[in-house]
């Protein structure tokens, strides 16, 4: 067995499941039925959610999903079946059902499915990087830590309510295919947030502000000192909220923006991450998630943004939510260029599209969110690269005469071709003559993707770079959810359209 990392061990209760026997039964049956390709997955996902309201436990739930799936290419057509019964007979039946589904689908299909070549990985193991499995921490201890931070917020001036939550996930995936690949993987991730609410009863008004800590591919250590300083952030939040409550409403118009990574990651996700998914560019998602303005004919010619823009797709970065050893096509994790010096140079791929469109090899972006779903092309950790020796946040702000420093994500929306977007945030600090001079409220920034990235004058240095992300990126039908990270530096944008959300509401 080759082990690429030897941090924590794969959960022995997952290893105790009869994955190899089931895989062997399913793949053998599929082979007998004459498939071009077959793969088998056994997946287990554990999740726990805690929600506290004003420091008191509002909801706690724990879930575990285990399932198995067989996917085949039969007569050039996909077939898929999944179930929950973990016996060899049930695995054989899934193989038969998958082939049957392929046959039913054959008359409705046009282009035969062919998969791009990939080396076989006969018995590989991969485990994400974390110290403490959050499922080994008693619930009382987890609730205690969240309650302690929430109570500190509740005790602060100007804070009337506090919403807080902790989500944690442990995912195990066993994969085997007729190409000879067999992999066993484990991922851990965690997300927590605190929202402080100020209520002005007399005015019938309220305001809120959330912590900026991103979800991370880390364990319980993330909540108690590794990778984020929660105590410092919770100490700062009430003062920022009090300032926000009293802040003047923004005058709509055109402003220069310095955008902090805690906000910019989501703009990257929506306007670059999704726009460079090849299945979207080819129209497979046209009726649902949408297409992309960045169509295949523009590869190596589309000026996506300014020359300081360099974007990579990455499944290997430590603590990345989309990092994994191997994808659900059996392809090894990679890092690849998407935008280089402002020009579109790559897409996120799976094996079918890599073959059909002449890319040669997939870059490992086929993932299913559970055994119940078929793998689709899902987003890698798509990240904006910093400038070596690039400026600090303060230096970026110092270059702005009249502008806004945007911190934290909040509302987000983008059109189905990834042109027109509108984002709000947690904090908007007014910049005057290179200095922060107090917060603004009711701010939304709105732009068209290539105009926006074209207006990026400078990216910050590595010291400004933060890995943000989300647990809940949705795509596909039936709907699938994936976690993904996006790293970026702070960056300076010129002449961006700012809307006032109060006047948009007609008030």
């Amino acid at each position: 067995m080759s082990t690429f990392r030897c941090v924590p061990e794969i959960d022995p209760t997952f290893l105790a499941l009869p994955a190899r026997e089931l895989a062997s039964a399913a793949l053998q049956r599929a082979t007998e039925l004459g498939v071009d390709h077959a793969d088998f997955r056994l997946e287990r996902s554990r999740g726990a959610r805690l929600r506290l309201r004003d420091g008191h436990l509002e909801s706690s739930s724990d879930s575990e999903d285990v399932g198995l799936a067989v996917r085949v290419v039969h007569d050039g057509t996909w077939g898929f079946a999944s179930g929950i019964v973990r016996t060899a007979a049930a695995a054989v039946q899934l193989a038969e059902q998958a082939v049957e589904t392929a046959k039913v689908s054959r008359p409705l299909s046009r282009d035969p499915v062919v998969l791009a070549p990939e080396p076989a990985y006969p018995d590989a193991t991969w485990v994400s990087s974390y110290d403490i499995n959050p499922f080994d921490v008693p619930e009382s201890e987890r609730v205690g830590r969240i309650a302690e931070l929430a109570e500190r917020l509740m005790a602060a001036d100007g804070v009337d309510h506090v919403d807080s939550y902790l989500f944690q996930v442990l995912e195990n995936k066993f994969y085997a295919d007729t190409n000879g690949t067999m992999t066993t993987q484990q991922r851990v991730r965690l997300e927590a947030a605190f929202t402080a609410v100020n209520v002005d009863r007399a005015a019938g008004a309220f305001s809120s502000m959330r912590t900026l800590a991103p979800p991370a591919g880390r364990g319980w250590e993330y909540l108690v000192g590794t990778g984020w300083d929660w105590d410092a952030e919770v100490a700062e939040l009430p003062g920022l909220l009090r300032e926000h409550v009293k802040a003047p409403s923004v005058e709509p118009g055109v402003y220069d923006l310095v955008i902090h990574p805690s906000n910019l990651w989501l703009t990257i996700h929506e306007s670059i991450g999704h726009a460079t998914e090849l299945d979207r560019a080819l129209g497979y998602e046209a009726a649902y998630a949408g297409t992309s303005f960045a169509t295949l004919d523009k590869l190596n010619s589309l000026q996506y943004g300014s020359p300081v823009m360099n974007v990579t797709g990455d499944r290997t970065i430590e603590h990345g939510l989309a990092s994994i050893g191997f994808d659900d096509d059996g392809v090894a994790a990679q890092q690849f260029d998407i935008v280089k010096d402002g020009v579109l140079v790559g897409y996120q791929l799976n094996r079918q599209m890599a073959q059909a469109q002449g890319f040669g090899r997939s870059n490992g972006c086929a993932l299913a969110d559970s055994a119940g779903h078929i793998p689709i092309q899902r987003m890698a950790n798509v990240s904006l690269q910093p400038a070596d020796d690039g400026p600090s946040v303060d230096e970026l702000i110092s270059r702005v005469e009249r502008g806004i420093y945007v911190v934290g994500d909040r509302s987000w929306s983008i059109d189905m071709q990834r042109f027109n977007f509108q984002f709000t945030g947690q904090q908007f600090h007014r910049i005057e003559n290179g200095q922060l001079v107090g917060q603004l409220r009711d701010v939304a920034y709105q732009a068209t993707t290539t105009d926006f990235w074209g207006s990026m004058e400078a990216v910050g240095g590595p010291q400004t770079w933060v890995l943000g992300g989300a647990f809940n990126c949705g795509k596909g039908q039936p709907g699938q959810v994936a976690a993904v990270s996006h790293g970026c530096p702070a960056a300076l944008f010129r002449h961006v359209n700012i809307l006032n959300t109060r006047s948009e509401a007609g008030r």
Binding site: A81, L108, W412, D415, Q422
Partner: protein, 461 residues
């Protein structure tokens, strides 16, 4: 192969040593076909089963709960699930939503019966008809995209107070998206089909054709406020988030669109038109569980302690006046009010009778939308929501559609739209495009808004 689902439930009840116990088993099956550019892209059939055990413990000032859900197939796995649930509940703090478990009451559910299931067989006639449509669209040099899905979930619910209930929830949808070869023109149809036997593919495909024909002429319009006809699916997109925001506790706490200075807006007239916004589990088109099935408490709206409680029909808005906000039993007891429980379906009706075509015919100049996309709350104070138009914005002049128009990004508050609506069409069974993965059962009217706020132009098609 697998043990009967009722046996798992009874085993959990008999293994329980907690002060109270609720067990919910759900047996789920689904099947789907997805297609793009006149060709099938993916398909599948899935089956799953999960069991949730809620163990409750009486404490000085309420109850604590341990809530654990697992995919389980055999009775042997049940004992461990109960132990994990009890370990979590015994040491937990008193839950904010705690309330005594629901007492037993008579019902005529078929608790002993086999779970209902769906399979790819429901698509037999549909798939053949779809194949014929692919051929027709190919010949017309147009592209058909879409998704067909059918699901069935059988729920079995048992409480330690002796209550046994069972409910079968079917769900299904068809979404069709027609495009010109270059993708520049796009039209859409969707509908909620809990029973897939009544889908007329040729008829709905012809409607998509008709709308693509409307795009023969296209014009560009700038951002601004337009008289706009929102079809039922778009109204559904806008109203579903209002339901999610209808927490009595949030309003009591002053942090909701339904809060006002020193109180809530219950009793306030929200609209001059006689809107009734209602949830009725027995509505024949929108049938949903007539009792609470909650595997995860949320807000002070749904609670695991309320499992099995009958869910009567309720008016949230009656004749334009806000009448109820959602509250679970625990919060109702704390505030000495009556519970107002979540129902997994809703209808909005203002007594209108006009069809979309009739509303178009009575329009001098305005926009007719097809559907909305990527809706997100911008400001919780007003429920200001942003989003985009998609798959067909049409200019109406002198009572007829005259051209297709570019897409827009809008910013609007759904609560404010109820106030500003000048005409409401007939209420129709519809499917929200944005939220149907989470909330599928709605009946909504079309609405005419005299000054809908199209904030910016989107180049997307």
């Amino acid at each position: 192969m697998t043990d009967a689902v009722q046996d798992l439930v009874e085993r959990a009840q008999s293994a329980s040593t907690a002060d109270g116990c609720v067990v919910i088993a759900s047996e789920h099956s689904e099947t789907n076909l997805r297609f793009a550019s006149n060709s099938l892209t993916t398909n599948g059939q899935m089956q799953s089963r999960s069991v949730t055990v809620i163990s409750t413990f009486d404490k000085a000032d309420g109850q604590s709960a341990g809530v654990v859900t697992r995919a389980i197939t055999s009775v042997e796995e049940v004992d461990d699930l109960v132990r994990v649930s009890e370990a979590a509940g015994r040491n937990a703090d008193v839950a904010e939503d705690s309330a005594p478990l629901v007492d037993n009451y008579p019902n005529d559910d078929d608790y002993a019966g086999e779970p209902a299931r769906t399979s790819v067989a429901v698509f037999e006639q549909f798939a053949a008809a779809l194949g014929a449509e692919f051929e027709r669209w190919r010949k017309a040099d147009r592209l058909l995209f879409g998704f067909a899905e059918h699901q069935m979930t059988s729920y079995y619910l048992a409480t330690s107070t002796g209550l046994r209930r069972r409910f079968d929830q079917p769900d299904g949808r068809l979404e069709l998206n027609g495009k010109s070869r270059d993708f520049s023109q796009s039209a859409w149809f969707s509908q909620h089909y809990p029973d897939y036997s009544d889908v007329d593919v040729a008829a709905v495909s012809a409607e998509v054709d008709r709308r693509l024909d409307w795009a023969a002429k296209t014009i560009e319009l700038p951002a601004g406020r337009y008289e706009t006809i929102l079809p039922p699916t778009a109204v559904s997109d806008l109203i579903i988030p209002v339901y999610w925001a209808a927490s009595a506790r949030d309003a009591d706490d002053g942090r909701s669109v339904f809060a006002k200075a020193d109180g809530t807006r219950i009793g306030e007239r929200l609209a001059d038109l006689p809107f009734t916004w209602r949830s009725d589990p027995d509505d024949p088109q929108l049938r949903s569980a007539p009792f609470q099935i909650v595997t995860q408490s949320f807000g002070s709206m749904t609670s695991v302690f309320d499992n099995g409680a009958p869910t009567p029909a309720i008016d949230w808005i009656r004749d334009g006046v806000l009448t109820n906000l959602m509250r679970n039993r625990g919060y109702a007891a704390k505030t000495t009010t009556e519970p107002a429980l979540f129902v997994d379906g809703m209808s909005l009706d203002a007594g209108g009778t006009a069809s979309i075509d009739e509303m178009v015919a009575s329009t001098e100049r305005g926009l007719l939308l097809t559907c909305l996309w990527y809706l997100r709350e911008v400001d919780p104070q007003t429920l200001l929501t942003t989003g985009l138009t998609r798959d067909g914005v049409y200019l109406v002049e002198n009572g007829a559609v005259t051209a297709a128009v570019n897409n827009f990004r809008f910013n609007e508050s759904p609560v404010d739209l109820l106030r500003r609506a000048t005409q409401v069409g007939r209420t129709e069974h519809t499917l929200s495009r944005e939220w149907s993965d989470f909330f599928s059962r709605t009946a909504m009217p079309a609405m005419r808004i005299p000054d809908f706020n199209m904030s910016t132009v989107s180049q997307a098609f």
